[in-house]
Every structure is written in C-alpha cells, then in structure tokens.
C-alpha cells in the first residue's frame, strides 16, 4: 500500500544522503514501515495534505512535517491535532467487512495494465503529445 511504498522510498533516500519527512493518514502502516520522520493526520485516505480549498491547513501540516527535519535524527511520528469533523464517524465505514451476500463478488476495480485517465480528453492529449519523437513531458517514464 502507498504508505509502505513511501517507507521503502524514504529508507533509500536517507541512505543516499537526502533527508525525508512525510505526512501519514495511516499511523499503523507508517509505524510498520519505520518511517524516519512523519506527522500523523487523522483524516481519511485521499486527504493527506488536508481539505479541499484550504491552503492554510496544507501549509501548517507541511510546516509541521518539515520542522521535524531540523529537529530530529531519530524515528519520530508526531500526532497532529487536526480533526476531520466534529466526530469520528467517518471511521466507522472504512474497510469494514462487507455483508455476506456481497462477499462472493470482487469489489475491487479490475486491475488493467492500460493507462487509466481521469478524462477522455486527457487520453487524447497524451496521444497527441506522444505522436512524434520529442516527448518533453513524460521524462519519468521508461518504455
């Protein structure tokens, strides 16, 4: 899962001489991955850097994460005070064991190895910008 992947990346970055810090929304997975430094934000998955249209909150969360780089050189997971809502009822439905009748159906999206675009237009743009030899954008992809 993502928090584990990030743990593996963090360990290799630190070994290469690059300091790391992270934001976590999954405290137990981050601890299992032995993340060097992280702040724990008790928000649902998909909101690692806070809430929609709230740059101030994102700044405060990131500041807290970056402060750990200056402050500590030992495994640290700092709990942030922010709450998602007035109560924690959002947690009730997260990864709950489904009802018996649905248990025979695989509810996960089918895992295809073709690119999954947010919009069909994105697919067209991607095809367009790769219709030639000089793709200047996807520098990160190995084909």
């Amino acid at each position: 899962m993502c928090h584990q992947t990030v743990g593996l990346i963090a360990h290799q970055l630190e070994e290469a001489g690059i300091a790391t810090t992270s934001i976590s929304t999954a405290k137990d997975i981050t601890e299992a991955a032995r993340m060097p430094r992280s702040v724990f934000l008790d928000f649902p998955h998909g909101y690692t850097a806070g809430k929609v249209a709230n740059t101030r909150l994102a700044i405060d969360i990131i500041k807290a994460a970056l402060d750990l780089i200056d402050a500590v050189d030992e495994e640290t997971l700092k709990i942030l005070p922010y709450r998602w809502g007035n109560n924690d009822s959002w947690k009730d439905s997260v990864f709950q064991i489904p009802e018996r009748e649905s248990a025979t159906t695989d509810l996960r999206l089918e895992r295809s190895d073709s690119p999954q675009y947010q919009t069909t237009q994105d697919r067209e743009y991607a095809i367009e910008s790769h219709d030639g030899e000089d793709c200047m954008i996807c520098s990160g992809i190995d084909y």
Binding site: K27, Q118, C138, I141
Partner: protein
C-alpha cells in the same frame, strides 16, 4: 470536549480482515526489518532545496496516465505546473477530493507558499509522482525507489517531503 474521539484506524487489521472475508489472497504487509538511517544534515530547511514525492497517481495533462496493475513507473511534474493541469487516477482511494482540488494529495500550492514565506529555501524544479499501491515490494525496492533516488539526486535536493495516499 474530546470524548467522541476514536483512536486512529488499525488499517493493517481491518484490511487483513476484509481481504480474508472476501476470499482474496492474504496481503503481505511490509514490516521494516531495519531501522532507517538518517542523512547527515548540514543545512536548515529554510536554507534547503526541498523536493516532493506523492503516491496518489497524479499526472499532468499530456502525460501518459498510470495503470492499475502494479505500476512501478513515475512521472516528473515541473513544480511550475498549474494545479488545473494536474489529474489523479487510482484504484485504492476515493478520488473525489483530489479531483476537486489536487492539492489535497499533491500540495503544490502550499509548497510554493512556503517558499514565498521563506520557510523553505527553494523547491526543486521537478516533483515526482507514482502509484504507490504496488503489491510487489520487490519492484518498489529494486525499481521505483532507486529510480526516484536517482532523480532526486539529479535535482540536487537536500530533503524530500513524502505524501502517500
């Protein structure tokens, strides 16, 4: 009054139980066997060049998107990119927030603001994104992580903010 506060979710327990109930293969959780090493720090964050790696399946329009089957590739996102040109695709989290405001999984606006405010010395020319929901820890260890380390070294960053989803 904080008495309606629930403890953090035990994701490992809940996901393991859900997978079992659905008859999926048991997920192999990664428990790091070794303590992390810590890079030697010579500069403060306010004097440092900071990079960012996010795992939420973010791409820029014009880029090839990610796929959903153990995709160990990554994308370089120039830090000057407008948020409106960024997209999110993933199989493992609710994308509604990210598609309304990409900053909830890729806080590019906050990073720029922190630089403007002087809290960060500089931000790297490129940030990096990947899928993260990769079931093969080996492909992360041997492919994705080393590639990202190499790119971060090229960017000459002093430190990296990691944003998993």
């Amino acid at each position: 009054m904080e008495d309606n506060r629930q403890p953090p979710i035990d994701y490992i327990d809940r996901i393991t139980a859900t997978y079992e109930a659905l008859g999926y293969d048991r997920y192999q959780w990664h428990y790091a066997q070794t303590a992390p090493s810590f890079a030697k720090r010579t500069k403060l964050v306010s004097e440092s060049k900071i990079g960012m790696i996010a795992t939420g399946g973010i791409y820029r329009t014009g880029q090839i998107s990610f796929h959903y089957r153990d995709d160990a590739s990554y994308r370089a996102i120039p830090s000057e990119t407008n948020a409106s040109d960024l997209r999110a695709t993933h199989f493992a989290y609710d994308l509604s927030g990210a598609r309304e405001d990409i900053n909830v999984v890729f806080p590019i606006k906050a990073m720029k603001a922190l630089k403007e405010e002087g809290h960060i010395g500089a931000i790297s020319e490129n940030f990096f994104t990947c899928m993260g929901g990769i079931y093969s820890q080996r492909s992360v260890q041997e492919e994705l992580a080393p590639n990202l380390v190499e790119r971060c070294l090229q960017e000459e960053v002093d430190a990296v903010l990691l944003v998993p989803v």
